[in-house]
């Protein structure tokens, strides 16, 4: 039963369907959000924030590349691979499994350089197994997207549910939720992640769970506080006086008023996931070896930088790609925060 489920989820068609569904759901949520008056005001504010807009466009670029790489057209090739190989003409070295420098015509070897199949085409060089570094660096965004997406799918509902419940019901519900997150918080994040992954085994799935279990806390605390503030307001008292059910008050009155906090937290959480993946991969408990992730590429630098002459292009490409995404996410989150709360920042 479990095995057949695993087969089902490991299937590339299932993956495609899930990726499309995920993107559709995200767009639907944004469209739904844009009907909210507060979001419209924020959008007006954001239009004047050039840095935030540039960051937003960059993020969309990363999302498109990552999404295209997650969409498979066969078990091993993605839409992105196909575009890169057949349309743009960037190819991996099929036979020469070795490093080659940017724009090189021969493999990177002081003793016996061999001619490349695509000389001068790899403008960021190739990796140890002859893959084009530029393509690998771009493909890293798919791992980032997958991890960030899975983590958010787990931690956002958890954080929203527990945070609003704690703030709305108070009493023993609040005490219990506070106890749970105080306990997890007491273990330093990185130690919890390491212990969790060590015990459950490496893999993207385990890592998402581990990251989700540490990320929901900040969202939960934020929403708890905000919900407590909101429930003091008159519109909630009015809803109560009119006899609205708890469910209605939470979904119709509280949730729309905290969704912007969720959005900001989500964007920041994404950048945290990308950085943490790099650190965990470096510590040896990250994504499995062979994954096209920035963490793996940076981890590889330990050996590459001690070679003579130095193999610098892989780590540089991965760092620039990662830095671009994390910086854009951070700047975009700042910009969102300003837009939703212009008075305070």
């Amino acid at each position: 039963m479990i095995e057949s489920l695993q087969h089902f989820f490991a299937n590339w068609i299932t993956q495609d369907v899930m990726v499309v569904a995920f993107f559709a759901a995200a767009i639907a949520l944004l469209v739904r959000g844009s009907r909210n008056e507060r979001w419209q005001r924020a959008w007006k504010f954001m239009k004047g924030d050039r840095l935030g807009l540039v960051a937003g466009v960059l993020i969309i670029g990363y999302l498109i590349i990552g999404g295209l790489d997650l969409l498979k057209i066969s078990p091993t090739t993605s839409v992105f691979d196909w575009l890169a190989n057949a349309v743009v003409g960037l190819q991996d070295e099929p036979t020469k499994a070795s490093y080659s420098a940017p724009f090189a015509t021969h493999t990177f070897s002081t003793a016996k350089p061999e001619p490349l199949q695509f000389p001068g085409r790899h403008f960021l060089g190739t990796t140890q197994i002859g893959k084009d570094t530029f393509i690998q660096a771009l493909k890293g965004s798919s791992t980032a997207l997958l991890l960030g997406g899975l983590t958010s799918l787990i931690y956002l509902p958890l954080g929203i549910l527990l945070g609003i419940s704690a703030g709305y019901y108070r009493g023993w519900v609040d005490d219990a939720i506070q106890y749970i997150y105080s306990t997890i918080m007491a273990i330093p994040d990185i130690l919890f992640l390491i212990a969790f992954i060590m015990v459950f085994g490496k893999g993207v799935g385990t890592m998402s769970w581990a990251l989700a279990l540490t990320s929901w806390i900040s969202l939960c605390r934020l929403l708890r506080g905000e919900t407590m503030r909101l429930t003091e307001r008159q519109f909630i008292s009015a809803a109560r006086a009119l006899g609205q059910s708890h469910w209605n008050i939470i979904t119709r009155h509280l949730l729309p008023n905290v969704m912007h906090l969720v959005l900001i937290n989500f964007v920041l959480g994404f950048s945290g996931v990308v950085l943490t993946e790099a650190i965990l991969s470096y510590l040896g408990v990250g994504t499995p070896i062979g994954t096209a992730s920035w963490g793996q590429m940076i981890d590889g630098a330990r050996g590459e930088l001690s070679r003579e002459p130095v193999v610098w292009w892989n780590v540089s490409a991965a760092t620039v790609a990662l830095f671009g995404l994390v910086l854009s996410l951070n700047l975009f989150a700042d910009s969102l925060r300003r837009a939703f709360d212009p008075k305070r920042s």
Binding site: F196, L275, I298, L331
Partner: protein, 324 residues
């Protein structure tokens, strides 16, 4: 005040118990001792060998309650593990069979050599820079400062280490590239580069955070009053705002406390400093669950100790708590 502190202490106990429960679930239930033995001894180990290993480490007990006839009911993994953690008897490492407590006492000093200077200098720098940013708030320079902070915190920490070692140590020869020696000034020579890198790694994040806190503080009424009675703006910031902002800062600073003692995992490993962070990395690489378990517990303990310390600081700083 005394009753307040007692209350806080009592609040920490169930949390510590929760942490013990989480570590037990992870290291004894999800990954039963048998799997640990297999991981350490290898797949080819004979069953007798595995049994012997389990017996040596005291892992050959039932999980929760010992219902075997003739044996004590509470002689189980769970009860024994709880007893051990409470009494700080961490036992021996799974991999090397050396006492874990020894690793800790050996590792604390090197870790502190790295983290304590980095923490103190970094904190002073971050507070100064963020206050200066608040002083020139919303100017072009302030905006650029914020951007720089975000950029600094968007670079993975490993890159600082790679570049630092490569450029500062190996090409310019300012520092030794690797190693550690606990001998007075010799230590400083080895620690200087990691300390510098650690400060830079955390600076962006800290400055940005403190700036937000201080910005919140300057909207308070007492700032307006001070300015109205003619106190110069620099004095308002660096005396009044700093003092009040410190109360919020204490909480944030405490979150760093476990890392002071646990050291910085990445830096210690990369520069060969034999501290606790390095011990943890070795434990990860060798699959040493007993060591990781002990370190996780210790990290939580330091965090809770820090929390208690914050409460004491609060009690002294805030008369409303002191007099309650």
């Amino acid at each position: 005040m005394f009753s307040y502190l007692i209350r806080r202490l009592l609040y920490a106990i169930p949390i510590l118990f929760g942490v013990m429960l989480i570590t037990f679930l992870l290291f004894f239930v999800v990954q039963p001792p048998y799997a640990r033995a297999r991981a350490i001894l290898g797949e080819k180990a004979r069953p007798a060998q595995v049994q012997q290993w389990l017996h040596d480490h005291g892992y050959d007990k039932p999980t929760y309650l010992n219902t075997k006839p003739g044996q004590h009911l509470f002689d189980s993994l769970f009860v024994n593990q709880m007893k051990r953690l409470i009494t700080f008897d961490f036992g021996v490492s799974d991999k090397t069979s050396l006492p874990i407590a020894k690793t800790f006492t050996d590792g604390v000093i090197p870790s502190l050599c790295l983290t304590l200077p980095a923490f103190v200098i970094g904190f002073i720098m971050a507070v100064t820079l963020s206050l200066y940013q608040v002083f020139i708030r919303y100017s072009a320079l302030d905006r650029f400062g914020v951007f720089l902070c975000v950029a600094l915190m968007s670079i993975p920490p490993m890159i600082y280490m790679f570049v630092g070692q490569r450029v500062l140590a190996m090409q310019l020869n300012y520092f030794p590239a690797y190693g550690f020696d606990l001998r007075g000034w010799q230590t400083a020579k080895f620690v200087l580069l990691p300390v510098t890198l650690m400060i830079v790694m955390y600076l962006g994040n800290d400055v940005r955070l403190y700036r937000t806190i201080f910005l919140e503080e300057i909207t308070q009424d007492y700032v307006r009053t001070a300015l109205a009675k003619g106190v110069p703006q620099s004095r308002v910031l660096f005396v009044h705002v700093l003092k009040n902002g410190m109360i919020s800062l204490i909480t944030l600073v405490v979150a760093h406390l476990p890392f002071l003692i646990m050291g910085s995992l990445l830096l210690e490993n990369f520069f060969g400093i034999p501290g606790l962070g390095n011990a943890l990395i070795h434990a990860i690489q060798t699959g040493d669950a007993a060591m990781t378990n002990a370190l996780v517990y210790l990290g939580a303990l330091f965090y809770l100790a820090g929390l208690m310390l914050t409460d004491i600081c609060y009690a002294f700083a805030d008369p409303r708590i002191r007099l309650s």
